[in-house]
Structure formats: structure tokens, C-alpha cells
Symmetry: C2
Subunit: 135 residues, 2 copies
């Protein structure tokens, strides 16, 4: 799969999984909803009681900015249709009142009307798109 | 969510995402199918043309055994039903002819009749189960 095709498939995904590395070198994964703008992925922690998780994710990228984000399709009944698309890049933590954060929250609200965004926005500058497809 | 509930939800999942850390400290994620036996997760690379990806995953755990594995539920129409369950642990790469590998492949074949297992088996000894639910 070309990088451009991986980017297109990723962009259409509704949920992704974010991989970060903690200060002790251990991997961490959480599901995220996201919006893609060019080659920047935006994600914001929803206003739900999961403060500890949020802090882990943010703490990780503050000590190691490298992240991987995965979108994939799984179908028990049709393994020939499986694919995944991955973004490798670097994360920045935006303050809620930054102009870029406000734009990100607007993009996310347009894509997920059900989200009540709150807190810091994660901006991930993608350096490499890759993917795999069973077909 | 208690660790036991996270383990139960995880066990029922059909697909998971495996997070590892590469020798340069960068996170890596791929989707995997798996079988859970007690507190050990087994996964084997399917017989498909993705040798490079397999090598990345195995190379990573050989240099840093720490892994995170995530099972989650996403539903655009019902965010109140979202949840995730995560396993944090250490990975071992089994040789295909090891007794534990043969047992793992049998467990995987029972769970995924469509899989044609080939190559090294990853055994992940889970040290911590955690999870989150919107409800």
C-alpha cells in the first residue's frame, strides 16, 4: 500500500489507536477519535472521568514525542478484506486556548457531534504513512 | 473497571492491537488476532506476505520485551457503550517447534479456523489488566 493510500484510508477511519512510550520505555495504547488536517492528526480528551488515562498519554508524549497511530479494519467473516494504515510521527501538546487548539476542536466537533471536548489537544505531525492490505 | 472485568472483556475480543517499542524508543502498533490462556496472550503471524512487518514486531520485543495489548469497542452511534481493556506485560518469542508454540497454534486454530498460522509465536505474559468503560 502506498503512503498516499494509507493516508486516505486512515482519514476515513472513525476510531484509531494511539501508541506512546512512557518514561520507563514501556508502550501504552488507547483508542482515540481524531481529525486529520493535512498531515496533522488532532485528538482531544473527551469530558469523561478518565483523568488518569489522559495524564498518562500526555505525560508520555512530553517525555518522548514519538507516537504511532493505527486505523484498521477487522472482519471475522472476511479476512481477505482486512487492512490497516499507520501514521508515525511526533506529538505536541497544545494548550486549550491556543489558536491551533481551537481550530482542532472545531474540526473534531464537526466530525463527532457527540464529543464534548475538554482539556489539552494532542497534535501529531505525521512523518510517515504506511499500510497493509490482505487483497 | 476491575482487572478481572478487563480480563474478561479482553478475552472475548476478536481483534486486538499490539504496541511495542523499537530499539530507538519509538512506538509501533499492529492489529493482531489472539488467544488468551490464563494470563498469557498468544499471537502468531499469519501466512501472508508481510514478512517485514513481522520482523519489526519480533525485533522490537527482542530488544524491549515490554508490550501493551488493547481490545476496545467503538460505536459511532452510542458513545455510552464505549469501553477498552488493556493488558500490560512482557513478550517472549517462541520457536515454532516448541511445545508451548504448538499448543498456542492449536488454541488459535480453534478460535480462528480461517487462520493459516506460520512462523514464530509471540507469548505475552500479562502482569496487569486495566480498563475503562463509559457506563
Amino acid at each position: 500500500m502506498t503512503g498516499e493510500e494509507a493516508r486516505e484510508r486512515f482519514a476515513a477511519g472513525r476510531v484509531a489507536r494511539l501508541g506512546t512510550v512512557d518514561p520507563r520505555g514501556r508502550p501504552h495504547i488507547v483508542p482515540i477519535v481524531f481529525a486529520l488536517d493535512g498531515n496533522t492528526i488532532y485528538s482531544v480528551v473527551d469530558d469523561k472521568p478518565k483523568r488518569t488515562v489522559e495524564l498518562q498519554r500526555l505525560r508520555n508524549v512530553r517525555s518522548n514525542a514519538r507516537v504511532a497511530v493505527l486505523v484498521d479494519r477487522y472482519d471475522d467473516a472476511e479476512w481477505a478484506a482486512l487492512w490497516w494504515a499507520r501514521a508515525d510521527g511526533s506529538a505536541r501538546v497544545l494548550e486549550p486556548d491556543a489558536a491551533e487548539a481551537e481550530r482542532a476542536i472545531a474540526l473534531l466537533a464537526a466530525r463527532y457531534p457527540q464529543q464534548r471536548a475538554a482539556g489539552a489537544v494532542l497534535a501529531i505531525d505525521v512523518e510517515r504513512w504506511s499500510g497493509w492490505s490482505a487483497r
